[in-house]
């Protein structure tokens, strides 16, 4: 009976450099969320340092949990279940959230729901509007680039993904070549808005699959920058950013378009941190009106790593009968399907 009435889920997320806790009602209504980001710390190292991330998670975990319950004006007794990101992610980071979730599950005798990080990103959209099936989810972030088809709630079918670097990772690396401070992906996107695509770069993995490859494109940019330097020519950063972004996003759009046609998709979701990318948003919206399909891109606060999406996904995982016991372990790598 509980499933059809009110259900409050506490979500916990610590897969990378954000410690987050959130309480979500019925998978759709955000009650309270706390996110403690370590970005200012890792900036000094040009990327996330796993051991430093783990050290901060353990420092922050109870503070984040306490603040979340306070903001929701709730106690643990009022929570119906605990949803936890078990993977994929940085193993040392994941473990902190996992042990916290297992401890709370043990102490309060609450169901423990294992949530895959990507499922979380997809279900960030259920906080915005209800899903319609068949649905296509494009998950783009610093760690992931995947196209997933869903025929119903919690029924995932991975059509394709990156064969090497994630798109966000590629953005950050190219940004570094151009000389932008970490995390440079967003700054690169901004620079590319002044677009003039004067540099020639290859469109990656221009084939019949739904897969992506970004390492070749990354190497092409590095080589180009290197050659220009050797010839004593100054690199036009804006133009290089625009040239890179054009082919990177074009390769994503090509594959999404193919999947939309092949699978007769009517509803397209974009999720993950790179969903904030201006060119991607523009091109996805263009694709939407061209193909006459509905588009959903969640607001930025749900795109980056957060526990709200984990609590939302946890609700549907719960309805799907997914439970874990206290022997749940973290997995640095794990397939959604």
């Amino acid at each position: 009976m509980k499933e059809t009435k009110e259900m409050y889920i506490l979500g916990i997320e610590s897969s990378c450099d954000e410690t987050s806790a959130s309480i979500v009602k019925n998978g759709t209504e955000e009650i309270a969320t706390v996110i403690s980001s370590q970005i200012d710390i890792h900036k000094n190292y040009g990327g996330v340092v796993p051991e430093i991330a783990s050290r901060h998670h353990v420092k922050n975990i109870t503070i984040v949990l306490e603040e979340c319950l306070q903001r929701a004006n709730m106690t643990m007794d009022q929570i119906d279940a605990i949803a936890i990101t078990y993977g994929p992610g940085l193993i040392g980071s994941l473990l902190i959230g996992l042990e916290a979730a297992k401890t709370l599950s043990f102490i309060y005798n609450k169901p423990l729901i294992p949530v895959h990080h990507i499922a979380g990103h997809i279900y960030a959209n259920s906080l915005v509007r209800p899903f319609q099936f068949p649905l296509l989810a494009l998950v783009v972030s610093g760690g992931h680039t995947e196209i997933i088809e869903m025929t119903n709630h919690y029924k995932f079918n991975k059509l394709g993904g990156t064969l090497d670097d994630a798109i966000g990772e590629c953005y950050d690396k190219v940004a570094r070549v151009i000389g932008l401070e970490y995390p440079g992906g967003k700054k690169l996107d901004k620079l590319a808005q002044l677009e003039k695509c004067t540099y020639q770069l290859p469109i990656p993995l221009h084939d019949d699959s739904y897969n992506f490859s970004f390492s070749g494109l990354k190497s092409a940019v590095i080589n180009l920058a290197h050659n220009e330097e050797q010839r004593g020519r100054e690199l036009n950063k804006e133009d290089l950013a625009a040239s890179f972004e054009k082919v990177a996003i074009e390769s994503v759009i090509n594959k999404v378009k193919k999947a939309v046609i092949d699978k007769k998709i009517k509803y397209l979701i974009v999720a993950g941190g790179v969903a904030a990318n201006q060119r991607l948003r523009k091109e996805i919206e263009k694709l939407g009106s061209e193909m006459n399909i509905e588009i959903s891109i969640p607001p930025m606060k749900y795109c980056t790593d957060n526990a709200t999406m984990i609590a939302a996904a946890g609700y549907y995982a719960y309805l799907d009968g997914r439970r874990a016991d206290l022997s749940l372990n973290s997995k640095s790598q794990d397939k959604l399907v």
Binding site: N44, Y45, V49, E51, I52, S54, R55, V58, K59, I61, T62, I63, L65, E66, M76, I91, G92, L95, I96, L98, E99, A100, K102, T103, L104, F106, I107, Y108, D325, L326, S327, L328, N329, S330
Partner: protein
């Protein structure tokens, strides 16, 4: 007065529930890589076997390192979340002190945890178990220098084969949890939010930045 003791700072899980100096339940098992998976089910099994509820615990004592970075964080996370959520008093203790307390009596103790690259975590405790050299990260070479000034002492360690001291008797470490709990249980408790590992060592990234 029921006290829950948790130590996951090595490849072993050492946990127990002690009541008025007697042992209700105790687990000493090596899990290695599976510590994160097994620690909580094992702790829960102690409660279930003895029909205890988490609320029945009056105090928590947790080992805060040094040792395996990931290992320490497992026990610390469990202990601080437990103490915070049920508002239980919590005390931290160094793994090195736990080793010294568990050793033979009436002698100086030098607990050693190998830290690779010719270094170790160590401290020197006198016969009253007071630290005359505080827990630190030090090269074996420097430790050997320190030890020259001591007349008689016992090394306690589970890393025998990694310790480069020749002709030195090394006592193996198996915690005497009752004794450990008994000697520290009346210490000042701390705020659960501030319960954190004592790594005694910066991360490699921080070290190379400082260099």
């Amino acid at each position: 007065m029921k006290i829950l003791y948790i130590d996951t700072s090595s490849s072993y899980l050492y946990t127990a529930i002690i009541e008025n100096q007697s042992k209700i339940a105790e687990i000493k098992k090596e899990f290695g890589q599976n510590l994160s998976k097994e620690a909580l089910p094992e702790i829960a099994s102690m409660f279930n076997t003895h029909n205890l509820k988490p609320e029945d615990i009056n105090k928590i004592i947790v080992v805060n390192g040094p040792g395996s970075f990931t290992g320490i964080r497992i026990g610390i996370t469990i202990a601080k979340v437990y103490a915070w959520s049920l508002d239980k008093p919590i005390i931290t203790i160094s793994a090195l002190e736990a080793m010294a307390i568990s050793g033979e009596e009436n002698t100086y103790h030098v607990p050693i945890i190998d830290a690779r690259r010719d270094h170790c975590y160590t401290a020197i405790f006198n016969e009253k178990n007071e630290a005359i050299v505080k827990p630190c990260y030090i090269s074996y070479e420097k430790l050997a220098e320190e030890l020259k000034s001591l007349k008689e002492y016992t090394i306690v360690s589970n890393d025998q084969e990694k310790i480069p001291f020749k002709n030195q008797r090394i006592e193996k470490y198996t915690p005497n949890i009752q004794k450990i709990v008994n000697s520290v249980k009346d210490r000042d408790t701390v705020n659960p939010h501030s319960v954190n590992p004592e790594y005694l060592k910066l991360t490699e990234a921080e070290e190379s930045k400082q260099a």
